[in-house]
């Protein structure tokens, strides 16, 4: 009996193979999601190859003088410096490229950590139920009733520092959604036969979670994680804008806007590009996440 069911588990995988192929086919039909995907690929490549794309500039060095402006600080765009120079006389284009590195990295890493922690708590909570479930869910609810941004501000002023500090600060607040999602998913998977069968043939909870529950609750997690990237990029940008995130001289899209309001009148072009970069990137992640959701959830695909 149990063995037969186990064979069915084998069929499941071949079914899930065609499932993923179908998902991909549906995603391919989702034009905006595909445009976003390609855009993001280009963006990531630009961040990776920031060096060669910088026209020989680097984001840290102060330019001594430019021929088309009296002073290098806040100089408008000109040859070799397509976006001009910032308030300290550094090349804005290369800062934008390198800033993209930081912003994207923070977005991806925080989202990954959030998804991993969320998966962990969600699986445990859903699988074991009872008091474990109650404690984890209470904790999740507690985290959800915190005023996130004020606390992030406090936190990042308490533990000042590096890229990893900011990743830590953002990640703390980015796992709750996934935990709830996964818990719900596990609760419904637990009712299904293959979980029961696996338990019947004496598989350990760890293996059941790893082999059966984790892969089967992946779909909504992927969507949530994709959407979370854009949220995390905005958090990073906001904190850096407030002067609490990525610190000078390291560039990030957020801290490039740090002084934007003060030179709004003299050098407005400096505030266009980092903002536009953040906007189109988060937009692309949101569209991609939405497309993924439609592709993974055929109920809504009509």
């Amino acid at each position: 009996m149990a063995n037969e069911d186990y064979v069915e588990g084998g069929i499941e995988t071949s079914e899930s193979y065609s499932y993923w192929r179908k998902v991909f086919q549906r995603l391919k039909k989702h034009k905006i999601a595909m445009v976003s995907l390609w855009f993001l690929v280009v963006l990531i490549l630009m961040a990776v190859f920031a060096g060669p794309l910088s026209f020989g500039n680097n984001p840290y060095s102060y330019i001594k003088s430019v021929p088309w402006a009296p002073r290098p600080e806040l100089a408008p765009p000109g040859p070799g410096h397509p976006l001009g120079l910032d308030n300290m006389g550094r090349d804005a284009w290369s800062r934008l490229l390198y800033g993209g590195r930081v912003s994207l990295a923070v977005g991806f890493i925080c989202s990954f950590i959030g998804a991993a922690v969320g998966l962990f708590f969600g699986l445990i909570s859903g699988y074991f139920g009872g008091i474990t479930d109650m404690l984890i869910m209470r904790f999740t609810d507690f985290m959800l009733s915190l005023p996130v941004l004020p606390l992030m501000v406090v936190l990042s002023s308490v533990i000042k520092g590096s890229l990893w500090t900011i990743i830590f600060v953002i990640s703390i607040f980015s796992w709750m959604g996934v935990a709830r999602l996964v818990r719900g998913e596990v609760l419904s998977l637990k009712e299904q036969e293959f979980t029961e069968a696996a338990r019947a043939i004496g598989e350990t909870p760890g293996r059941i979670m790893w082999i059966h529950l984790l892969p089967n609750s992946m779909a909504p997690v992927i969507v949530a994680a994709t959407l979370a990237i854009s949220g995390n990029i905005i958090y990073e940008a906001t904190l850096s804008f407030l002067g609490l995130g990525i610190r000078q001289p390291t560039p990030s899209w957020g801290n490039m806007l740090n002084g934007a309001q003060t030179f709004m009148l003299t050098a407005p072009w400096l505030m266009w590009w980092p903002g536009i970069a953040i906007l189109v990137t988060t937009l692309a992640f949101n569209f991609l996440g939405d497309g993924l959701r439609d592709a993974l959830d055929p109920r809504l695909y009509r």
């Binding site: 996130v148 308490v158 709004m264 906007l279």
Partner: protein, 333 residues
């Protein structure tokens, strides 16, 4: 229903307690609130010693927390002295700045609800129409827009370039009435109100757009999901007019999950208000939080974090109640 309310409110107490402790612990890591008082000309060294004693600042964290919480609930010490605004207590500072924050964030909360729900329904009913695509794009735009940058852009366009709205603050210092300058506080109430509305238009826009996008999309997909439910088909099979089918049977069910979503988005609203106030230089509690953190004004920051937490918890609580009212399945289970 009454039992449900009582039970839910009792459940809030431990949550609030935990939040209070965590935020107290975190904020007190910012620095020593008494060290900075030395620079305050209003406070004598003996006073500092006395204050330190009153707040039990040399005792362990838990004891400190206890005295702080006592004062927060029953403010005999006015929640502690501010270092940012010398001579004022945190309570004085905060209570003067809280009205504007409440006013403009609740306005934009209501505006966002009023906009997103009908637009979401409309978008769902006209799925794949031009209007749906436009709304969808607008919604994604709102969801993806970094609030602070949107604020900066609006300031640049409408304040700096077009001069339609002011760039900062939430009211002018004085009016000129019949050639005579009149202080803001002395001006007629309606003038004050109009001036504040004029100043707050851009901030409210920023905060509203920030919230509308997600809710609109959620309302849309909720409505789409409900539209294909069996009971909607039953309603049609009864021969009800399409309007009744949609607005009585589908809508009521579709709007229930939105209530939870709105309740859960209170932290976001607070964060949004904080950024908006900072960008538009509005002297509310959001900007105060930022300033307090930047200048290590420990007592003010502590009280503010606590107030925000209470607001969030109250928001969730209200959402729960609305949910229970809207969904008959809740009350008994």
């Amino acid at each position: 229903m009454r039992n449900y309310l009582i039970r839910r409110s009792l459940e809030l107490i431990p949550v609030l307690f935990a939040i209070a402790f965590v935020s107290f612990w975190l904020v007190s890591k910012m620095g020593d609130p008494f060290a900075v008082l030395v620079l305050n000309p209003h406070v004598r060294p003996e006073d500092i010693q006395r204050l330190r004693h009153i707040w039990h600042w040399d005792d362990p964290l838990v004891v400190r927390f206890w005295y702080w919480l006592k004062d927060f609930v029953w403010p005999r010490q006015g929640w502690g002295l501010s270092t940012l605004a010398p001579g004022q207590t945190a309570l004085q500072l905060i209570s003067r700045r809280i009205p504007v924050t409440i006013a403009f964030s609740s306005t934009s909360l209501i505006a966002a609800i009023i906009l997103s729900i009908p637009l979401g329904v409309y978008s769902a009913l006209r799925q794949y129409s031009v209007a749906d695509y436009i709304l969808t794009f607008f919604a994604f735009f709102g969801m993806s827009m970094p609030t602070f940058w949107f604020g900066i852009m609006l300031i640049y366009l409408f304040a700096v370039k077009l001069h339609w709205f002011p760039a900062a603050g939430y009211h002018r210092a004085f009016f000129i009435i019949k050639g005579v300058p009149v202080m803001f506080d002395k001006a007629p109430r309606w003038m004050q109100f109009l001036d504040e509305a004029w100043h707050l238009t851009l901030p409210i826009t920023v905060l509203t757009v920030f919230q509308v996008g997600g809710w609109l999309r959620y309302m849309r997909s909720s409505m789409l999901e409900v539209k294909s439910m069996d009971y909607v088909r039953t309603a049609r099979a009864k021969g009800l007019p399409e309007r009744t089918v949609i607005y009585k049977h589908a809508f009521r069910n579709a709007v229930i999950p939105i209530i939870t979503l709105i309740g859960l988005s209170f932290p976001g609203l607070i964060g949004g208000a904080m950024i908006t106030e900072t960008v538009f230089a509005i002297d509310g509690i959001g900007r105060l939080t930022y300033n307090a953190v930047m200048s290590q004004d420990v007592f003010v920051a502590m009280a503010l974090i606590m107030i925000f937490s209470i607001l969030v918890v109250i928001g969730n609580f209200l959402a729960d109640i609305f949910y229970a009212v809207a969904d008959p399945r809740i009350r008994y289970s």
